[in-house]
Symmetry: C2
Subunit: 205 residues, 2 copies
């Protein structure tokens, strides 16, 4: 069991506050003053600990990306049979997002609004999962005739779409359908159980 270092140190308070503000308003929408207020400290402290807004943001963004991307390795690098792998991925990834519902949108927003920074970041520190193995596995199953003929890339997109998109569309969906927080959680719980089955039904012969 790893100690997660949730001290109430000033640095940790800043990170927590910055996460909250950045994740909701993005880099350009966030205000240093707002972050300081949320942390219950002074604006000057932010600079003392993180030099400037840019660096504070980078820290938060890296942490977010680290939570999301390496998880993709579950689907890409394990040795499970295809159906179990799909099952595993959907459940594991949804668990991450249940704990951090705003992360996907945060990372995607940054990726769109500032692709340069994003790419630079990714090249370095991230052990960026390559899906080749998983795609090859799908191709193999298609050739063996175990599953229906489908493009591996399309299947991968289907799996990821159905897993991530609900968290991105949450506000739209809640407004459209009129779900409250509890109902949305129930919707997600059900989805975690059933979505892999949906995909498998679609490709099973």
């Amino acid at each position: 069991m790893v100690k997660v270092a949730k001290d109430n140190s000033t640095e940790e308070k800043i990170l927590e506050a910055a996460r909250k503000i950045f994740v909701h308003k993005g880099m350009t929408g966030a205000r240093m003053q707002e972050i300081a207020d949320a942390a219950g400290i002074n604006k000057a402290m932010l600079h003392y600990y993180f030099r400037n807004k840019e660096m504070l943001f980078e820290t938060i963004f890296s942490q977010a990306a680290q939570k999301l991307f390496p998880q993709l390795n579950i689907i890409f690098e394990s040795d499970l049979p295809l159906f179990e792998k799909i099952e595993n991925f959907v459940q594991a990834y949804m668990d991450v997002m249940i704990e951090n519902p705003y992360l996907p949108m945060f990372v995607l927003t940054e990726m769109h609004q500032n692709p340069e920074r994003f790419y630079k970041k990714m090249k370095g520190e991230m052990n960026f999962p390559k899906p080749d193995k998983f795609l090859a596995q799908i191709e193999k199953e298609v050739k063996r005739g175990t599953i229906k003929r489908i493009s591996p890339l399309q299947l991968l997109m289907n799996i990821i779409s159905g897993t991530i998109f609900p968290f991105i569309a949450k506000p739209m969906f809640q407004m459209h359908i009129g779900l409250d927080e509890l109902q949305f959680r129930q919707f997600i719980t059900q989805r975690k159980k059933e979505y892999a089955g949906f995909v498998i039904d679609a490709i099973r012969k």
Copy 2:
């Protein structure tokens, strides 16, 4: 055939430039100077035509939302049989996004970062589609035993996810897989043809 009023009037040049900048950088990330430059005019002109940044943004955002949301009525209000309706929706919606690949992310970002403005907007001018009819249709088919047992809401989410998400994840996907622009277009073309079939295969008995 309706005239689309693509004059080269100053107002139209501003709108075009503002669209480009806002859609990529969002409300808070966009700079009035940048928009003026892109329009080939002076910053003061922006205020002359649209009073302030807020109102210019509202104009752009409304146009974007109008392109995306009313389309959902195709799926919700037509009288087609279920499978054809799914087929129709996927193709029609993907056509909209092929023409405007950045719209979905733009609207979603605004929805997340400024939900108040978004909700206010939606209440007024938008003829906001209610999915009740479509959900009831699914429920009916399940009861008749025509399709597998599935929650109507889950099925709706599956259809929408697979249709919209590829455009949102485009940069991530291109980077991960290494697709260039042409390859991505081909991927989308294939998807437009096949995704409805995937969904139908999953629910067909």
